[in-house]
Symmetry: C2
Subunit: 372 residues, 2 copies
C-alpha cells in the first residue's frame, strides 16, 4: 500500500467462481453514480429495490432513478432498520409488495443496504415464485467484506439466528466505497471485525497488513478500505468456491461466531451489532485456542489488541455459564450433540473441533465481565 | 393390464435423473410395513416426521415406530389438514418444533401425507438451517402421481397459490398404494385429475388406457392404480429431468392449472380440492384449445367425459369475467404482462402461449355455471 492514497482508482473486479452460478463483484468509489453498471446486471424490465429507513433516504432515489432512466419499471420496499427486524414479518412485507404490484418471475430483486437487508432480500429472491434474479448493493463495510459474498441468505427465529434461509447466489455484487462515508463509527468497527477474521483464519500476511493499517482503516482512508474489501472478498470467495454449501471448509468463516451468536441471542438481537459480537467472539476463540495450546499468549494478546484497536468490545457480557452453554448448543454448527469451535492453530490457520468443557468454561470465565 | 389384478406384485422402482440430485421412487403395496425401506433413506440418526391430523392417526405411530426400532431419534409435527392450512403460520410451527427439540443440520424431514404436507415439509427442509435432507411418503393419489415428484415445495400467500417456496429435491419418494384404501372418494378423483393430465399433455396411448380403465381406477383396483402412478411418475420425472427449474418445457405440467388456480383462489382455498379445480381447468383449457382450432369438438368432449367419469366437476364457478382475468393475471406463469396457457395441439401434445382475449372470454362464458 505505497500508492498515493488520494488518487482515484479504477474499480476492482473479482469473480466468484461457482460454475453456472458464478458472478462478479465490483468494488470502487462512487459506483452508484454510474448510469449503466447496475442496469447491466438486470436482465428483464422489472426491478424491486429492497432497502431500509436509514439507507433509503440516502440512496434509494438515486438508484431507482438510474434504473428508471434505463427504461425499467421499479418497485420499492422500505423496511425498518436493525438486526432485530430480520424476521418473518418483514420478509412477508417484501412478498406482500411483490404480489400486490404483480411482480413476475423475471423481476430482479436489488438489496440496497447492509447485511440484514441483503439476507432478507436474498431469501425473498430465493423463495419468491421459487426463485427470481438478485443483485447485492451492500452499503456497509460489514456487508461489503462479508455478507454480500457467498450466497447465504435468511432470517432469524426467536430460538436462533439465521435458522431459516437458503443458499442463493446473486447475479452480481456492487460495492460502492463512497457509501462508507456516511457509515456510523460503530458500524465501521463492526465491518472491521470480519476483515480481521479473514486474516486470522487464513492469511497471516493480511493479518499483519491490517495491524499495520488499522489507523488508516479507522480514519476511513478509501484506498486502505478498498484493499481490505478486495482481500476479504477474495478470501471469502475462495473458501465459498471450495465449499458452497458449508459441508466442511466453509465453516472456518464462522471463526468467532459460535461465541458471537450466543452474545447476540443472549443480549437480545440488536443490542450488540453482529460485528461487535464477532469481534468479542474472536477474542474468546483466541483465548480458547491458547488454552488448548494452539497459539501462544502473545498471539492471543495481538488478536485482542487488534480487535480493541478496531473499536470493538473485548470483554464478554456476563450471561452465566449455564446460559452460555445453552445458547451455543442451538448454534447450527452444533451437529450430533457436540458444540464445534473454529480455533486458530496457529494464527492464519484454523481447525474445526469440539472443545473440552473445562477449557470452554475457563474461557467464558476469563472473558466475561463481572458484575459487582 | 391383462395380468391377474389380485396377485401381489413386487414394488416398482423408478429413478428421477437429476445428476447429483437424482433420487429413487418406490411404488408398491404395504411399503410402510417394511422395516428397512424408510430407514435406508435416512442418513443420520435424527428424523422429524411432519404429518396432519387426518393421516397422523392412521400411520404416524407405525412409521415412527419403525424408525425408532432402527435406532433413530424421532420428532413429530402434526399440522391441521387442508389446502387452506398451507400458509406461513403452519410452516413456522414446523420450525418451532425443530428448534425447540434442537434438531441439527443432519436431521431428515419426512413428509407423511398428501400434497399440502409434502409442500410445507419440503419447503421447511429447504429452508431449515438453509437445507436438511428430506424424504417424501405421499399418502394420497394426488401426491403419489404428482406433487411428491419434481421438487416443487412451498406455501400459499393470500394473493396467490405457491407464491413462496423452493425447488428442493427429496432423497427418496416412497408411495405405498395401501394408503389409498382409506382415501375419501373426492380425493381419489382429485388424484385422477393429474393422471388424466399426464396422458393429455404428452402420452395419447396413456390417455387411451385411462379412458379404458377409468372404471377399474374408480373401483380402486390396486394394479390399475399402481400402473397409473408408475406411468404418471415416469412422465413427470422425464419432464422434470429436462427442465428442473421450469425454464420452459416443465410448464406443460401446468395444463389446466391457470384456470384451476383461479378457481381455487376465487372460491377461497380449500373450497375446491386442487385436483377438482385442475379437472375443471382441463375442461376449460380443452375448450380454449378447440376455439383456437387445435383440437376438434369430439376430442374436447372426450376430455370432458373422462374428467366427469373420474368424478370431477366439469362446470366452472361463476366468478365474473373481470375477476377471472384478474385471478389469472397473478398466476406465476404470467410473465411480462401476458397470461400464458398450456393448450393441446393435438391431444397428447401441448403448446405454451398467450390466448386472444375474445376466445378466452368465450371459454369462460361457455364453461361457467350461470346463477339465476
Amino acid at each position: 500500500m505505497t500508492a498515493d492514497h488520494r488518487t482515484p482508482h479504477p474499480p476492482i473486479q473479482l469473480q466468484v467462481d461457482l460454475g453456472d452460478r458464478s458472478y462478479p463483484i465490483t468494488i470502487g468509489q462512487s459506483l452508484l453514480n454510474s448510469p449503466e453498471l447496475l442496469a447491466r446486471h438486470v436482465a428483464g424490465k422489472r426491478v424491486a429495490i429492497v432497502t431500509n429507513t436509514v439507507v433509503g433516504p440516502l440512496y434509494l432515489e438515486r438508484v431507482a432513478g438510474l434504473l428508471r432512466e434505463a427504461g425499467m419499471q421499479v418497485t420499492t420496499v422500505v423496511l425498518p432498520d436493525g438486526e432485530e427486524e430480520k424476521h418473518w414479518g418483514n420478509l412477508m412485507k417484501i412478498f406482500d409488495v411483490l404480489l400486490a404490484e404483480k411482480c413476475d418471475r423475471k423481476t430482479t430483486i436489488v438489496a440496497l443496504g447492509g447485511g440484514v437487508i441483503g439476507d432478507m432480500a436474498g431469501f425473498a429472491a430465493a423463495a419468491y415464485m421459487r426463485g427470481v434474479p438478485f443483485v447485492q448493493v451492500p452499503t456497509t463495510l460489514l456487508s461489503q467484506v462479508d455478507s454480500s459474498v457467498g450466497g447465504k441468505t435468511g432470517i432469524n427465529h426467536p430460538l436462533g439466528k439465521n435458522m431459516i434461509g437458503a443458499f442463493y447466489q446473486p447475479q452480481a455484487v456492487i460495492a460502492d466505497t463512497a457509501t462508507l462515508d456516511t457509515l456510523p463509527d460503530r458500524e465501521l468497527s463492526a465491518g472491521l471485525a470480519e476483515v480481521i477474521k479473514h486474516g486470522a483464519i487464513i492469511d497471516p500476511a493480511f493479518f499483519d497488513w491490517i495491524e499495520a493499517s488499522i489507523g488508516l482503516l479507522m480514519a476511513r482512508d478509501p484506498v486502505a478500505l478498498a484493499h481490505a474489501i478486495q482481500r476479504s472478498c477474495e478470501i471469502k470467495a475462495d473458501v465459498v468456491r471450495q465449499d458452497e454449501r458449508e459441508g466442511g471448509l466453509r465453516a472456518i468463516l464462522n471463526f468467532g461466531h459460535t461465541f458471537g451468536h450466543a452474545i447476540e441471542a443472549g443480549m437480545g438481537y440488536g443490542e450488540w451489532l453482529h460485528g461487535e459480537a464477532v469481534g468479542c467472539g474472536m477474542v474468546m476463540a483466541a483465548d480458547l485456542s491458547h488454552r488448548l495450546g494452539f497459539i501462544d499468549a502473545a498471539t492471543r494478546e495481538r488478536i485482542a489488541a487488534l480487535v480493541k484497536a478496531a473499536g470493538l468490545p473485548v470483554t464478554a457480557p456476563d450471561l452465566g455459564a449455564a446460559r452460555w452453554l445453552e445458547l451455543m448448543e442451538v448454534d447450527k454448527k452444533n451437529e450430533g450433540g457436540q458444540i464445534k469451535f473454529i480455533l486458530l492453530k496457529p494464527l492464519g490457520r484454523s481447525v474445526i473441533m469440539p472443545a473440552p468443557q473445562d477449557a470452554l468454561l475457563a474461557t467464558i470465565a476469563a472473558c466475561t465481565a463481572r458484575t459487582a
